[in-house]
């Protein structure tokens, strides 16, 4: 078990002790950070439960017959917390597939369905957690050619956006999450952690416009690359992560993906939607940062 998880386990225990081990049950939701199906263990970055606990990272023993093999880091889980003497249990685990029912994400859901039905190769192009992410080459805001493979040995957190995106809760929020990561992991930026925003509107966001967009967050190009390329190139990279986008009345309708790639260049997590917090993403990144190279995610809890 990683040091961080141990530390957090300790604090979680303190919390539980303080509550006196009363047999309470609470509905909880969070982002899965780690999973060990063999030991029925999960670590979750939980959302706050008003009157019970703040948002925090907690390990749980999963009770019940759930098969944890289908779970991968980055998923949103809903479950019930019940307290044992010295540990917290998670019961009635459910994977939350869709968390945003606004018109645009719903539209993106329909379009994704159409895309994957009509193009049977689309599904196969999507990298699964634990699998190596194919290398890609795009151009950053300083006009530098950037390859994913040049960051091997470092952790990469990556999302998608475009500058004319009218809804700050979508593109802005996802890139702003990266900005919060930059502050949280300030000392490790560039040397240990690389951020990427892949810009999906290359007709508009190129050259100076791309630079201006990166300047929104005063992004240091060495640590935070705003990347674009030809439309087919961008689309190909996006499809690797199951990210799709469509032209719609002058805007782009798009799905939401935030991706973490580990030091070996394997996919560590692929977060869908925009409802998770920057703190949860940070917890996930921290978990991946703690993993030494050449260690598969499944072995993390061994």
């Amino acid at each position: 078990m990683t040091g961080m998880a141990l530390k957090l386990l300790a604090s979680a225990c303190i919390l539980l002790v303080a509550l006196g081990g009363a047999a309470e049950e609470h509905s909880a939701q969070g982002i899965l950070l780690e999973v060990n199906p063999g030991k029925h263990l999960i670590v979750v970055s939980c959302e706050a439960i008003p009157g019970y606990m703040d948002a925090m990272v907690m390990p749980f023993t999963v009770r019940g017959s759930e098969d944890l093999k289908a779970l991968v880091p980055g998923m949103t889980l809903q479950f019930k917390i019940s307290e044992g003497k010295n540990e917290a249990y998670a019961e009635h685990l459910q994977v939350v597939k869709v968390s945003n029912f606004e018109s645009e994400p719903t539209e993106a859901g329909r379009l994704t369905f159409l895309h994957r039905t009509l193009d049977p190769t689309a599904e196969a192009k999507i990298v699964q957690v634990g699998q190596p992410v194919p290398d890609f080459v795009l151009t950053d805001q300083a006009q530098e050619t950037t390859r994913l493979s040049q960051f091997k040995g470092k952790v990469v957190a990556l999302t998608f956006a475009y500058s004319r995106c009218p809804n700050p809760n979508y593109c802005f929020r996802l890139s702003n999450n990266l900005s919060i990561l930059e502050r949280r992991f300030h000392a490790r930026m560039e040397s240990d952690l690389i951020l990427m925003t892949i810009v999906i509107d290359p007709d508009q966001d190129r050259g100076k416009a791309l630079q201006r967009y990166a300047d929104t967050w005063k992004a240091n190009p060495a640590a935070w690359r705003f990347l674009t390329g030809t439309l087919p190139d961008v689309r190909e990279v996006a499809e690797t992560f199951g990210m799709d986008f469509w032209s719609d009345e002058g805007f782009l309708t798009h799905s939401f993906h935030t991706v973490v790639i580990d030091r070996d260049g394997n996919l560590a997590a692929n977060l869908e939607g925009n409802q998770f917090t920057a703190g949860q993403l940070g917890d996930l990144v921290e978990t991946v940062l703690h993993r030494p190279a050449s260690m598969s995610p499944a072995s993390a809890l061994k």
Partner: protein
């Protein structure tokens, strides 16, 4: 600040102490400030224009002295680095400037201009500005944030337009598919849709047979996407069945989807109800709002009742939702139960739509005239294409399988469909059309623009052979080489060589300026002209807004600042939108130049477009709207514009698509008709007729005129179709998807007793159709003092083509009528006094007299043709 601790308010000692410190600090600061004041007070807002030669500087000095705006001139002509900022140097102390500038500025007060100063870099002119010029572009972030915060509600798009485009995108195509073969594009559309419906249907049916494939959300998305594809084609029963399948799944475990599905089901049922009751094909009065006949209802009512059921379910969750409330009210109208039957909590009162003025009732005569053709979203142009003195009607449809339709005016109140005879039957699709006599042969040609909102596709230039037929000369003319998505273009002679050039603006591709070489071919010079900016452009219009003799361009963009391109007179342009104050709205659509206040200078109208039904309804119910309003910019005569939107009462939000202007009451002031809506079946909104009251305000006369068509509004033209000296309104209706077509409407003008004249110009040195020629009519109404009315030939909306002939309303008892004409290429002027009113005249450039034209008035549809226009296009469907 006075502080005294009283018994009533115990102020902690600590705060008092801090307050004292603060006071002391403030005192020290103010002492320090006094010392600084002298330096501060010397500071001035300074502007500079630097020209390369003394001669250039003298020209600019003359322009400044004639009242032209300093910052616009700086942007256009200065070679200094400050040009982009309108010449603004900042708030500076002149004492810090180099000696020759200090000398030049000495003794100058605010508003004053220096003499020409010789610098190493060139010849400078400085000005002490009253205020800093606008130095920030339109605040994109502020407007965008209104969407995200929910301040602007954007509902679901129930039409399948995005799904059908995705399906089209996925479908295998050969390279060059969009360059030549219009029939092939139709086949791709048809086949891709059929293929997708089949594949998705099969995938959903097979679910579970080879183990569980789809999650519940995926199944909901799958059924919803199939519902959208059926909805796109207008197969509403199949569509509703799929929406219901999704709805049942959502009820059992994914309740987050329910509100959108309820609204989608309600809107689909309402659309089905309208189709079942032949509302779209039938040219009935039943889709005009407010209702013309209070208790009239649809014959078949079941589908409307289902719609109500779903809208009410939705409203139980979100009772304040204005979009759903509006749709509920409309559905009650289809039952003849609006307003009385609408639950009080959801009622949108009819009174909110009441007109305070009457202009007479406009009646749709399209069926009787043979013009009731079914169209999707498309352009409408009205002009005399066969030179018989009668105005013909051409309408396009963006459905890539629909041919353009050409209607010949028979002169007896009826029109004949001559699409086939004219050689136009293969001209499929086209979101917009624009007319012009590009080859100066005296016959109006047609440009078809394609691909708007969809995918890049070829344009077509259709040369009028002057014998009732047209030839596609796109490739021969050089316009076939670039394939873009566009819905707007404007013709203008940019270099006054007597030939009309073409400016095409695109969606997400550089704008293109095609210079007319005079031999039937064009050369693309957008880049060298400095006018090739990329935007998601929705409208373009042209006028010589600053009176320098050269045609300028204005481009309206969706999701970006608009551009004003000043023509520098040497085939280059400078973008001065910010300096001229015309960048808004951020979300723009149709636009035009017109002289709404008859001061002799072109003013600028720009429609705002935000696909939010709620925002439009707020305009009526007196709520607070958060979306941008229409914009009317009054020309200040100095190269800049004043935003008079609020002053004239146009600070309203409508979801404007097609729109145009004309004079419905012949008072000499140009009125406006707006065609509203967006692709979604959730967005039937009344069109709006706005009467111009003497250039001072615009009042809504929709209800009293009966012109509140609810269906999607596209190309609109004002035209004197029946030669009675009054303008009828030809309104293209129909949505962005094939399942949402509607007949063309022709709202016949009830007529009035005001005088008028109809002027047709023929250019000899100036381009033949006289585009850009300026007409001034001076008239006395009864015993009133003389007034002037101004028109510029060729001015029309970017989304609707008025004829080039100018019907000019003169008001009541018009006397002492004089006509002045100015020709842009020759700069020739003509003056004719004592012109008789209520007649048609033709004026040739340089001629010393004008010709009276014989025209016979008739009533539209008076003698209905044996067969109205077939509702299916010939040779298709």
């Amino acid at each position: 600040m006075h502080i005294s601790a009283t018994n009533r308010w115990k102020i902690p000692r600590r705060i008092i102490t801090w307050a004292s410190v603060f006071l002391l600090f403030a005192l020290m600061r103010s002492l320090a400030a006094t010392a600084q004041t002298d330096a501060e007070s010397r500071k001035e807002n300074l502007g500079i224009i630097v020209l390369p030669t003394l001669e250039d500087a003298r020209v600019v000095m003359q322009e400044l002295n004639s009242g032209k705006d300093f910052s616009v001139l700086a942007k256009e002509k200065s070679i200094d680095a400050t040009a982009a900022e309108g010449g603004y140097m900042g708030n500076v102390d002149p004492g810090e400037l180099r000696a020759e500038l200090q000398d030049a500025l000495r003794g100058h007060r605010v508003g004053e201009i220096t003499n020409i100063v010789h610098l190493a870099s060139g010849f400078a002119i400085l000005k002490v500005l009253a205020v800093a010029p606008p130095n920030a572009d339109l605040n994109v972030k502020r407007i965008s944030s209104l969407v995200s915060t929910g301040a602007i509600r954007i509902g679901p798009n129930v039409s399948g337009v995005i799904e059908a485009n995705e399906v089209f995108l996925e479908y295998a195509k050969q390279s060059g598919w969009n360059a030549h073969d219009l029939r092939g594009v139709c086949e791709l559309r048809t086949n891709s849709l059929a293929d997708a419906k089949k594949s998705v249907g099969e995938a959903l049916a097979q679910n579970g047979s080879n183990g569980a494939q789809f999650s519940v959300p995926q199944l909901i998305e799958g059924h919803s996407s199939l519902a959208q594809l059926y909805g796109y084609s207008g197969e509403m029963r199949e569509s509703i069945a799929e929406w219901k399948a999704a709805y049942d799944l959502a009820k059992n475990g994914s309740p987050g989807y329910l509100p959108n599905l309820e609204e989608s089901l309600g809107a689909s049922y309402l659309h089905l109800s309208e189709m079942e009751n032949n509302i779209y094909r039938g040219n009935t009065d039943l889709d005009i709002f407010p209702p013309l006949h209070p208790h009239a209802s649809f014959e078949k009512k079941d589908d409307s009742r289902h719609a109500i059921e779903y809208f009410q379910k939705y409203l139980e969750r979100q009772p304040g939702d204005l979009e759903a409330r509006w749709l509920l009210n409309l559905t009650y109208m289809t039952l003849g139960e609006y307003p009385s039957g609408v639950p009080a909590a959801y009622l949108i009162p009819e009174n909110d739509f009441h007109s305070r003025e009457r202009v007479g009732r406009f009646v749709d005569v399209a069926p009787a005239a043979g013009l009731n053709v079914m169209r999707g979203a498309g352009g409408v142009i009205v002009d005399d294409f066969d030179n018989d003195g009668l105005l013909d009607v051409v309408a396009s449809s963006m459905d890539v399988c629909d041919p353009i339709r050409f209607f010949h005016n028979n002169g007896d109140g009826t029109f004949s469909d001559r699409t086939k005879e004219g050689g136009l039957i293969d001209q499929l699709g086209g979101l917009n059309i624009v007319e012009a006599d590009y080859n100066n042969d005296g016959c109006m040609d047609i440009l078809v623009l394609r691909g708007g909102w969809e995918f890049p596709e070829r344009k077509s230039l259709l040369r009028n052979n002057c014998d009732g037929t047209f030839t596609d000369v796109t490739d021969a003319s050089g316009l076939g080489t670039s394939i873009t998505s566009t819905q707007t273009a404007v013709w203008a002679d940019i270099d006054n060589d007597g030939y009309l050039d073409l400016f095409v603006v695109n969606e997400n591709a550089p704008a293109q300026l095609f210079h007319n070489k005079g031999d039937g071919t064009f050369e693309e010079i957008g880049k060298s002209a400095g006018i090739d900016q990329t935007g998601f452009s929705k409208g373009v219009t042209a006028a010589d807004y600053d009176g320098d003799g050269y045609m300028d361009f204005y481009v309206s963009n969706q999701n970006g600042a608009n551009f004003l391109y000043h023509n520098n007179g040497n085939k280059t342009f400078t973008e001065v939108g910010r300096q001229a104050g015309v960048q808004a709205p951020l979300f723009s659509f149709a636009t035009w130049f017109f002289d709404y206040d008859n001061d002799g200078w072109p003013d600028l109208f720009v429609a705002s477009y935000m696909p939010s039904v709620a925002e439009s309804i707020e305009t009526y119910v007196g709520g607070r709207h958060n979306a941008e309003t229409l914009k009317l910019y009054r020309n200040r005569h100095d190269g800049t514009f004043e935003d008079v939107t609020e002053q004239v009462g146009l600070d309203k939000v409508f979801m404007v698509m097609g729109s145009n202007f004309g004079d419905i009451d012949n008072d000499g002031y140009l009125d406006i008709y707006l065609g509203n809506g967006q692709p979604s079946y959730t967005s039937p909104l009344p069109h709006v007729l706005l009467r111009n009251k003497e250039g001072k305000s615009f009042v809504d006369v929709t209800e009293s005129s009966g012109t509140g068509e609810l269906h999607k509004g596209h190309g609109i033209a004002f035209a004197d179709l029946s030669r009675r000296g009054s303008e009828d309104i030809v309104a293209g209706n129909g949505g962005a998807v094939p399942g949402d077509k509607h007949t063309l409407r022709v709202f016949e003008n009830p007529g009035n007793s005001n005088n008028w004249m109809n002027v047709r110009l023929v250019g000899l040195k100036t381009n033949r159709e006289a585009l850009g020629a300026q007409i001034k009519v001076t008239v006395r109404n009864g015993n009133s003092p003389p007034r002037s009315i101004y028109r510029t030939v060729g001015q029309t909306s970017s989304f609707g083509g008025n004829p080039v002939e100018q019907l000019i309303g003169l008001g009541p008892n018009a006397q002492d009528v004089a006509l002045d004409i100015w020709w842009p290429t020759s700069k020739a002027r003509q003056h004719f006094a004592g012109v008789k009113t209520n007649q048609y005249i033709e004026v040739k450039e340089f001629a010393s007299s004008y010709t009276h034209l014989e025209r016979r008035p008739f009533r539209l549809g008076k003698e209905p043709s044996p067969k109205a226009a077939s509702t299916a296009p010939p040779g298709n469907q």
